[in-house]
């Protein structure tokens, strides 16, 4: 199990890597979304990733409304946002749940692959 601070650090690292890849800003310029990162095993450790005009920001706390909810145990989420694991396997075996449309799920997948793909 990861701590809330570890998960926050992983998300901050993810947001920094996102900002360092200028193509992501272009790719997501039309994709304004609120993403709720919801660990299933931690109390009061939800986070919000907001994509607006291609820029990704991170805030502590759950959003009032989100188009995507990413739910998993804190360890899986931390590993995922640090790029230690890819989203596909936990998604396929049910450890990771993405509550979103298929197209939004695919677009989130593309972001992680742009950052972490080999």
């Amino acid at each position: 199990m990861a701590t809330a601070q570890e998960l926050y650090d992983a998300l901050r690292d993810f947001a920094e890597r996102y900002a360092a890849e200028p193509r992501l800003k272009v790719m997501n310029r039309d994709w304004n979304r609120v993403i709720h990162v919801a660990p299933t095993d931690l109390e009061d450790a939800d986070f919000t990733l907001t994509l607006k005009d291609g820029v990704l920001t991170l805030q502590r706390g759950a959003p009032q409304a989100a188009q995507l909810v990413v739910r998993a145990d804190s360890e899986t989420l931390t590993d995922l946002f640090y790029g230690d694991i890819s989203p596909t396997e936990p998604y396929m075996d049910g450890r990771l749940r993405v509550e979103a449309s298929e197209e939004d799920t695919m677009r989130l997948d593309v972001i992680t692959l742009m950052i972490w793909g080999e």
Partner: protein, 302 residues
């Protein structure tokens, strides 16, 4: 007579059987669709395994080749592994050889000069041979994989970037269920929904998998050329109504019928009596030479 079957994830509405002559030998070719159901496809494969001379897998690729590096689509592999006795192929190798030849032929003899032509490839990671050869002959290509497969408004404009992004994505994309990355079953029959129509509009040539081209095709396609694998009479009527001028199909025509690359590759395996992995691009070239292979160009507006 040797018997070859293509089990396709596509619609059963396209099922057909035919007796043809290939390399001077008679062959029975049959295509059976599983209507997008993996389970039905598995059933069909088990049913034909050991009872025909070769099997082709249609409606999905098993292997993606990106500049010589091979990636395996897991759902495709699952289907392939269900076949224990009969040689089974997905057509990707013959597709690569044939589409390179088709583009070179078109560059010399086609109705649209490809050098400098604006080409939209709706999907290119599933046909690296075509993508690479279009660039080689000097076409100005937009590779639309991110746009049409993932909805990302990012046209890829160079082969180098396609290779870089393809490698970043392919390993993971290949693990997703096939329905997330390719229209299968009834999705192939749905009314088209325009997607990135401005890229269709700008293009003189729209190339790639026909189901994808069709799925996002705008109403006005006046004067354009479509370069794709195989089409039915209904597909051609659909394009004619939208103003498409020429359709070029890369799959060879045998006795007046066009067959999917998986069926052609399976037929070659059956006729040559060799394991699929023993066949080389040179074997495919030799056979295509003997067939006097060239793509089929149809003027839809004449």
């Amino acid at each position: 007579m040797k018997r070859v079957v293509s089990v396709s994830l596509g619609s059963s509405k396209r099922d057909h059987a035919a007796r043809v002559t290939l390399l001077d030998e008679p062959l029975e070719l049959r295509r059976v669709g599983a209507d997008g159901s993996m389970e039905r496809a598995l059933e069909l494969l088990r049913e034909f395994d050991g009872r025909v001379d070769a099997i082709g897998l249609g409606g999905l690729d098993v292997y993606l080749n990106i500049d010589g590096e091979r990636f395996v689509i897991q759902d495709g592999l699952r289907l392939m592994q269900a076949v224990r006795v009969t040689p089974v192929v997905d057509g990707s190798r013959v597709k690569d050889t044939m589409e390179r030849r088709a583009v070179r032929w078109l560059a010399e003899h086609g109705p649209v000069p490809l050098r400098g032509a604006r080409v939209l490839m709706v999907s290119s990671l599933d046909r690296w041979g075509m993508a690479e050869t279009l660039a080689e002959v000097g076409a100005d290509v937009v590779y639309g994989d991110l746009m049409f497969a993932a909805g990302v408004p990012y046209p890829i404009r160079t082969l180098e970037e396609l290779k870089e992004l393809g490698r970043k994505m392919a390993r993971e994309i290949c693990k997703l269920p096939i329905h997330m990355i390719y229209p299968v079953g009834e999705k192939q029959e749905r009314e088209p929904e325009e997607k990135f129509p401005e890229y269709y509009r700008e293009a003189q040539v729209v190339a790639g998998d026909f189901h994808l081209i069709r799925r996002y095709m705008p109403r006005d396609m006046a004067g354009k050329m479509v370069l794709t694998q195989t089409t039915t009479a209904a597909d051609r009527e659909f394009m004619r109504e939208r103003g498409v001028r020429w359709v070029v199909t890369t799959t060879p025509v045998l006795d007046g019928r066009s067959f999917g690359t998986n069926l052609i590759e399976a037929a070659l395996v059956a006729l040559l009596g060799r394991r699929p992995e023993e066949l080389t691009p040179e074997d495919f070239h030799r056979v295509l030479d003997r067939m006097d292979y060239r793509p089929t160009v149809i003027d839809l507006q004449s």
